[in-house]
């Protein structure tokens, strides 16, 4: 983040009364249409979806409302249609494969992958917890849970874990998508509210984005965690529902009784669904960055591996990584993040601005290109020396390696010297490879070089199969186990804040 750029954005938005684009390209794949999911939990109940809406985002949503989500039978009965639909969509999408050649090996990966979009990052975490709960369900009274619930749990867990991969497009949190593509007056903390973000971008006629987002923040309800007012209404409706049903969990009995709760959550979900649709519709027309298709191919590959493991082989995932697995995952995530940042900056000039301001990149006019010979080890080899005139002062050490954005996956240029040149600088660089036409700009070109490289810099070895004793845990990671033992407990009665001695204790 460049603070100068952030300050400039804030000032312009304040003065002009409109949000500004951070990018000229879209850096995330958006399906047409993706499968939207919105969710409302019961306050404090991390595993209980009081309502779950889903469906293609260009159409109406289906809504699962269990009535009393802390009752296992009612909860599973309500979630079953969602689970069955999700599993069917994933299986259908993964069924069509395409051959891919890589390193002389032919692989088959899905042609497409089911994309989920959710309103915010909090929903990603909520789906991950719901997935953890459903994926390892235990039997009750000798009755096994519906297999679709277990399979859907595994899918949700996979999606939530995959959402950590920088630049992935399988599970898109719309607040992050918008915050990544738009500059607003909202701080990173406030950007977690999708309605506030949307209000900054489309504040409505005659309204300043600040006023529009403040109003949205106060009134819009996005989920998954309910506000006090939502759960006050839910509490009253739920009390009526439980009183009317007694101990019944028969769908024919409880279905009609859940009507008021269904209506309550339907009314809450409609604006969220419209908001999600509006956001996706606004972002989709922006041209996709060239690297989006490559990243989505990686997503499809991961999606295919997952479906093969879970659906074809009936496999489960670990719930706690081994130290070796954690090290590999961390390394992969870090590499992917570096590559994603490099891709964005190299492909999108708007993304490069922050790097130019932070001194990680230089832009200038090619003043001259001179071929020379240098001795590398014992041989004299051809090298190209370029003089670049930057209109801005440059501070870079000798030997610093920079990649020309046109060949960011190739060989770097090495800084030979930096001299003042009028108000700017003249930077002399030498290509660290044999000069070929595709590796060279032409004198007079305005080019950008940066520390960002989109190519593979080094091959890294996998950690040993048997880690040394220094990296072995005292106790082995826990075997995945069901976490649903508490389903049999009596639900806690709601307590109004006015009746609690000190409600802040339970924040």
């Amino acid at each position: 983040m460049s603070t100068a750029l952030e300050a400039y954005f804030a000032a312009r938005i304040y003065e002009e009364g409109r949000a500004l684009r951070r990018t000229t390209l879209r850096h995330v794949h958006l399906a047409d249409p993706p499968l939207g999911i919105a969710m409302w939990r019961l306050g404090g109940e991390r595993f209980r979806a009081a309502a779950l809406a889903w469906g293609p985002l260009d159409g109406p949503f289906q809504l699962a409302v269990p009535g009393e989500p802390r009752n296992r039978d009612l909860y599973f009965a309500a979630l079953q249609p969602f689970a069955a639909d999700l599993c069917a969509r994933i299986r259908r999408t993964a069924a069509t494969l395409v051959a891919r050649e890589r390193g002389g090996v032919t692989e088959h990966i899905p042609v497409d992958a089911l994309q989920l979009v959710v309103p915010n990052k909090a929903t990603v975490s909520a789906l991950g917890l719901l997935g953890r709960y459903l994926a390892y369900l235990s039997d009750r009274g000798g009755v096994a849970p519906d297999p679709a619930l277990i399979e859907a749990g595994k899918h949700l867990r996979f999606y939530a874990r995959h959402a950590r991969v920088p630049g992935q497009s399988l599970l898109v949190a719309l607040d992050q998508l918008v915050a990544g593509h738009w500059a607003t007056l909202l701080s990173p903390f406030e950007q977690a509210n999708l309605a506030a973000l949307d209000a900054q971008i489309e504040p409505g006629p005659g309204r300043h984005p600040f006023e529009a987002s403040a109003a949205a923040e106060a009134t819009a309800r996005i989920g998954p965690e309910p506000t006090e007012d939502i759960d006050r209404t839910t509490g009253a409706l739920l009390a009526d529902f439980n009183a009317a049903r007694g101990t019944s969990t028969d769908p024919a009995t409880v279905g009609p009784l859940a009507g008021p709760l269904r209506e309550h959550y339907h009314d809450l979900t409609v604006p969220v669904w419209q908001l999600m649709g509006r956001v996706v519709t606004r972002e989709r027309p922006l041209p996709a960055a060239p690297s989006v298709s490559r990243r989505f191919e990686s997503d499809r590959e991961a999606f295919g591996r997952h479906v093969s493991w879970v659906v074809t082989q009936g496999g489960y995932y670990r719930t706690t990584d081994t130290p070796r697995q954690a090290a590999i995952t961390l390394r992969r995530l870090e590499d992917t993040l570096a590559r994603y940042e490099a891709d964005q900056a190299v492909e999108d000039p708007a993304r490069m601005i922050a790097h130019l301001l932070d001194g990680d990149a230089i832009r200038g006019t090619v003043a001259s290109l001179t071929e020379t010979k240098v001795v590398i080890k014992v041989r004299a080899v051809r090298r190209m020396v370029m003089a670049l005139d930057s209109p801005d002062p440059v501070i870079l050490p000798e030997g610093k390696r920079l990649w020309w954005t046109a060949t960011a996956s190739g060989h770097p240029w090495e800084v030979q010297s930096v001299q003042p040149n009028g108000a700017g600088s003249r930077v002399v660089l030498m290509l660290t490879a044999k000069p070929t036409s595709e590796r060279l700009p032409v004198a007079g070109d305005v080019i950008t070089l940066s520390t960002l490289c989109t190519g593979q810099q080094a091959f890294w070895l996998m950690p040993p199969e048997n880690p040394p004793w220094t990296h072995r845990p005292d106790t082995l990671p826990a075997v995945p186990e069901p976490i649903d033992a508490g389903d049999a407990e009596q639900p806690a009665a709601p307590v109004d804040a006015t009746a609690a001695e000190d409600p802040g204790r339970y924040t």
Binding site: S2, T3, A4, L5, E6, A7, Y8, A10, A11, R12, Y14, L20, T24, L42, G43, G44, R46, F47, L129, L185, S187, P188, F189, E190, F210, A214, P226, T227, E228, D229, I230, D231, G235, T319, T320, P349, A350, I353, L356, L357, V446, I447, A478, I483, D484, A485, G486, D487, A492, A493, P494, V495, D496, A497, A500, D502, G504, R505, Y506, T507
Partner: protein, 392 residues
């Protein structure tokens, strides 16, 4: 943090500042929250005057939604009740399993019961807390659990009693802070990592105040352990589990933050007679008058707005943000941006400098990168009406 005697003049000044604003008793949780906004003079005065910042602006559009879901409160109440049921059987079981010490016959003293809910009651509870903590340090034969402790401490020169939600667990001459939270832990990880951080901050504040209490009693404060225990439900139900965590670095951080709190008595004495939250909290006044009164108070006292900490800890955050917007203050988008703009007072001026307007000598350091940012952005995405100047 030296101990001071209460200054009646300062107390009167603080009461005047409070006016009809709702008052709130100090507790460790609020102190931990205050630590995150301690740099703000308005927050410091409100803290000193015991103003409930969450309720001062009640009834206006600036009132922040800090309300809790009844189900979330109910879950917390049910979890605490579970731990206390049948002579604290569940609490004894989980502590025995987690601390490798038999708590079957541990003495459990609940200081929330049997004392008046007023300052006299707090003073008595603070005395008992200090005595019991000194006894624990002496190493009683059986473990001791102290529930609802009250700690006496000076923060910014203000002596106050702080109620603790947590427990003091005495084992073998060592005091371990224990805290109950109703969010679940799954696969050894908290379901809500932000909540974990807040809980550990509260526990670290408790350790810090506990050490002060021990010092006042002439007992070695080192017997207050650096590690704390969290008792939380495991998985989907309420079955409790225990986790022990070292919070030494958090203790140091909070100590540093609280030692930097300005002397509130001096602040109160220096506050002009006209400054009071009386009109801000007056529900008979129209909203505009109340918000305007708030702006006047904070203009005099000063405000430091950091979105992430203020919006989670202070009930004045929305009102402060609105004041910043009205003033075109660069702090609106956070302190990091504001600190990068030395010598520039308003966003309007930042916009001018971004368009290449000549800078004064004071503005020069920030003006150069701003002008460059404006030029680079305009090259890529021209402002409406500007010709495109896109580079290769």
């Amino acid at each position: 943090m030296p101990r001071h005697q209460p200054d009646p003049a300062a107390a009167t000044a603080l009461a005047r500042v409070r006016g009809q604003a709702p008052e709130i008793r100090a507790n460790v949780r609020r102190l931990a929250a205050f630590a995150s906004v301690h740099a703000c003079p308005t927050a410091a005065v409100a803290f000193a005057a015991r103003i409930d910042t969450n309720r001062v602006l009640a009834g206006t559009s600036m009132e922040m939604p800090f309300g809790q879901s009844p189900f979330a409160i109910g879950r917390g109440v049910a979890f605490e009740a579970l731990l206390r049921r049948h002579g604290h059987a569940e609490l004894r079981r989980v502590l025995t399993a987690g601390l490798d010490t038999d708590f079957t016959f541990a003495a459990i003293e609940n200081l929330r019961e049997g004392y008046q809910p007023n300052r006299t009651g707090l003073r008595l509870r603070a005395n008992v807390t200090q005595t019991r903590m000194a006894e624990i340090a002496g190493g009683p034969p059986e473990p001791v659990i102290l529930d609802g402790a009250v700690l006496h401490a000076d923060i910014g020169g203000l002596p106050a009693f702080f109620e603790a939600d947590e427990m003091a667990i005495g084992v073998g001459g060592q005091i371990i802070v224990g805290e109950n939270k109703s969010w679940p832990v799954v696969d050894g990880k908290p379901a809500d990592e932000d909540a974990l951080g807040a809980a550990l901050d509260q526990a670290a504040t408790y350790v810090l105040l506990g050490r002060q209490t021990l010092e006042q009693a002439g007992v070695d404060p080192a017997c207050m352990s650096d590690s704390v225990v969290l008792v939380t439900p495991r998985n989907t139900g309420l079955a409790p589990s225990l986790h022990r965590q070292d919070v030494a670095s958090r203790i140091r951080r909070i100590e540093r933050l609280l030692s930097a709190v300005p002397d509130v008595q001096e602040t109160a004495a220096a506050t002009p007679q006209s400054v009071t939250f009386d009109a801000v909290a007056d529900k008979t006044l129209p909203e505009t008058a109340r918000v305007e009164a708030f702006g006047q108070v904070t203009d005099v006292l000063g405000r430091v707005y950091e979105p992430a900490s203020c919006l989670t800890s202070c009930g004045f955050a929305w009102a402060c943000r609105a004041c910043l917007f009205a003033d075109a203050d660069p702090g609106l988008v956070g302190g990091q941006v504001a600190r990068a703009l030395p010598g520039i007072a308003s966003l309007s001026r930042v916009a001018e400098l971004g368009q290449g307007a000549p800078a004064s000598p004071a503005e020069e350091p920030a003006a150069v990168p701003l002008a460059r940012a404006g030029r680079l952005y305009d090259e890529v995405i021209p402002a409406p009406g500007q010709p495109e100047r896109r580079t290769a």
